[in-house]
Symmetry: C2
Subunit: 158 residues, 2 copies
DNA sequence: CTAATACAGTTCGTGGAGCGAACTAACCCC
DNA sequence: GGGGTTAGTTCGCTCCACGAACTGTATTAG
């Protein structure tokens, strides 16, 4: 494992950057009155509504966990359960007007802060970082979740 | 933000790698019968015992949160509260024999898995990644916590 | 040397989060 | 139309995190 110069190891770098991003997420959420889970839920819903099962797969949660999360978020007026027109068992969780607004703000602000993290790197270095880290996440097929909003996300369908 | 080619953005890369590492942490912990918080506590204690206040600063938790975490971990037989010889208000939280063993196993296994994540990169690329990410965490002075075991620790063997 | 203050930890009450097991209701389809 | 699947919820539990209030020791001021 290459790190004989004073440099930090890749494991430590990953672990600590994780810490960093977690903290940003939590704090940004907090400032918007959101837990990071609720913030995540809002972000996932930004492009379109989803069913509970879809959400639970996307977020990596048990369905019973999701019920609670949606309950709490709904209680805060940020999402709404709508009946699915094609399946009366199912439910579509959608952002309310307020939720939509808050999601946008939270998303923008959180991105801004995360983008700030590598501010000490040159544009080229940030690009390299994005490429390498991007390959890591692709190689490990991250559940495809989370802030998928980079764009290509919309094409995802059940 | 440079991402006009098909490449993922640096924000998305960071966010998703965070997801990845979180998952590794949680799963590795789970397989050792640990929550990630308890796993983290054990790791922090590997080099030496600490007082509650020190721990709460290192882990970024309120003191009252730490009491509970240590309680639960102690109940599992992994740590022990010892009186501080120099301050009878204070307490030193130390690993038990069992906790020490488990911490080592958890630590090694978790590192192994995290090290696995960038397996698709060449050695040189991993090194670059470590350098760039290392600068990011240094620039943002990560609370200096977490798996602190890397500092001198690369070749560390207690 | 006492009195005020600061500090170390705990307790208590609250709420979010996550899980599995058991359940209801709708769907599918043969 | 009956059996198996699927969508979601409910229930009971544990963990986690917080702030406020508290106990008791240390420290420092006067």
């Amino acid at each position: 494992m290459g790190k004989d110069d004073g440099q930090i190891g890749v494991v430590a770098a990953l672990v600590r950057s994780t810490f960093l991003v977690n903290a940003v997420y939590a704090q940004s959420g907090q400032e918007h009155g959101l837990t990071s889970q609720q913030g995540q839920l809002l972000c996932v819903l930004m492009p379109q509504p989803y069913g509970m099962s879809e959400l639970s797969a996307m977020l990596g949660l048990a369905k019973s966990s999701l019920t609670g999360l949606v309950d709490r978020t709904e209680r805060n007026g940020l999402v709404r359960r709508e009946p699915d027109p094609h399946d009366s068992r199912a439910v579509r969780v959608a952002l309310t007007r307020q939720g939509s607004k808050l999601a946008e703000e939270f998303y923008v602000e959180t991105c801004r802060r995360i983008e700030q993290l590598p501010a000490g790197l040159s544009a080229a270095e940030r690009d390299t970082l994005a490429t390498l880290l991007g390959r890591v996440v692709l190689d490990n097929k991250v559940p495809v979740i989370f802030m998928e909003l980079d764009d290509g996300a919309s094409a995802r369908k059940h």
